[in-house]
Amino acid sequence: MSMIRIEHLRKEYPNATPLEDVCVEINKGDVISVIGPSGTGKSTLLRCLNRLEDPTSGKIFVDGEEITDPKCKMNLVRRKMGMVFQSFNLFDNLTVVENIMSAPVHLLKMPKQQAHEEALTLLDRVGLRDKAENFPSELSGGQKQRVAIARAIAMKPEILLFDEPTSALDPTMVGEVLSVIRSLAEEGMTMMIVTHEMKFARDVSNRVFYMDDGGIYEDGTPEQIFEHPEKERTRRFIKRLKTLEFEIADAEPDYPALLRALEQFGKSAMLSAQALRRTILVFEEIVMQGVLPKLRETQNGFPIRVSIEHSDADGSIAVSAVYGGARFDPLTDGDSLSATIAKKLAKRTDFAFDGENRIIAVI
């Protein structure tokens, strides 16, 4: 069942438009990790959802009610939607238990005694009952964030929004916060979590939004997004690819300039000297000694589009080339000495012809 429906959401700032046209539905019980490069509107999406930001245009419905309608009572909507911020946002002058009681007492008019008891129960859930009477300044970052989560669920929200909940934490404290979020997911809480913790996103979510290019660029299961991303930018982000792309436009390329570009790429990708030499050699054997002489001979098939990709995730380097002309696989139809070197240095090679020739060698 759809709990939140977003229709053509757009958010413009004077110098940027992080959300151009977002359309998506969020179902009850969904645990959605929102991932993507910086500046792609992940936090903006969350902040538009609970109207901390006013969308420029578009509509958002929560439980069928349009919260982008100016007549909508936002206080009632925000009760359904808890938010946990990167910077905790606790009240420093209140004790831990008072921080958690505050909203139920003031907004829900819950009796103080009941709010106190429920706050202690929530502190139990996040493993901090013994800190009930402490002030936030006496807690570690991880403990503060666990209190912030307890405070958010004290309002019994239907959905919880987390905006990079572990980004401000010392790495040693990330685990304790993620484990609380994980337990909420197991209890069936509907959640959207903007996060850079990829392993967590993969383990906990049933859906992952990869945000880029002005919206939700790819929406899929963790398996799809992390193992078989369908779209190019998702793939590059997930595999943490550093990429060098260039074109060889004609039969007489400036090889020393190409070499300089490859060496510069090797430095920026922090390749070892051996890995860089192998990359250059595979490129030279496939493209310079294989494809180029063939296209030169037939005077057809230019440009050759070359891409070198290094994955930080698994250390692999992929050398690929796309070119026109008749079917020509340099590893089977080209010079055998060049083919031998390229095949011996590569862990995997693949060739396809679909109107264009595509060859890839993974080192």
């Binding site: 090889y255 030499r277 310079m288 000694q289 070197i341 011996k344 240095l345």
Partner: protein, 98 residues
């Protein structure tokens, strides 16, 4: 690539430095065309050679064929990467590598 030639009677030593690749292999080929006449003992010193590709191997193969008729040829001081390329291409069996 830099090519340094040292001739002592019928012995010629070619010391290569840098890269022997698509661009520089023709330079070596031209140097050999000029220098091999009358040579009976050819040595390639690869101490300062960083890189070799198939383009360089083809020139070595051509030199080996010439020297099979005229005398002998050997490669000395090749680095690990070059030795690996000799190995995977079978050149380790064709050339005399010391």
């Amino acid at each position: 690539m830099n090519i340094e030639q040292k001739k002592d009677g019928k012995a010629l030593v070619l010391a290569l430095a840098g890269r022997l690749d698509t661009v520089t292999a023709p330079e070596l080929e031209a140097a050999l065309n000029d220098a091999l006449a009358g040579v009976e003992e050819l040595t390639f010193d690869f101490e300062k050679l960083d890189y070799i590709s198939s383009a360089g191997l083809r020139v070595l193969l051509s030199a080996q064929k010439t020297m099979n008729r005229q005398g002998s040829m050997k490669v000395i001081h090749a680095n690990e990467m070059i030795l690996e390329i000799f190995e995977v291409t079978g050149f380790a069996d064709i050339l005399t590598v010391e």
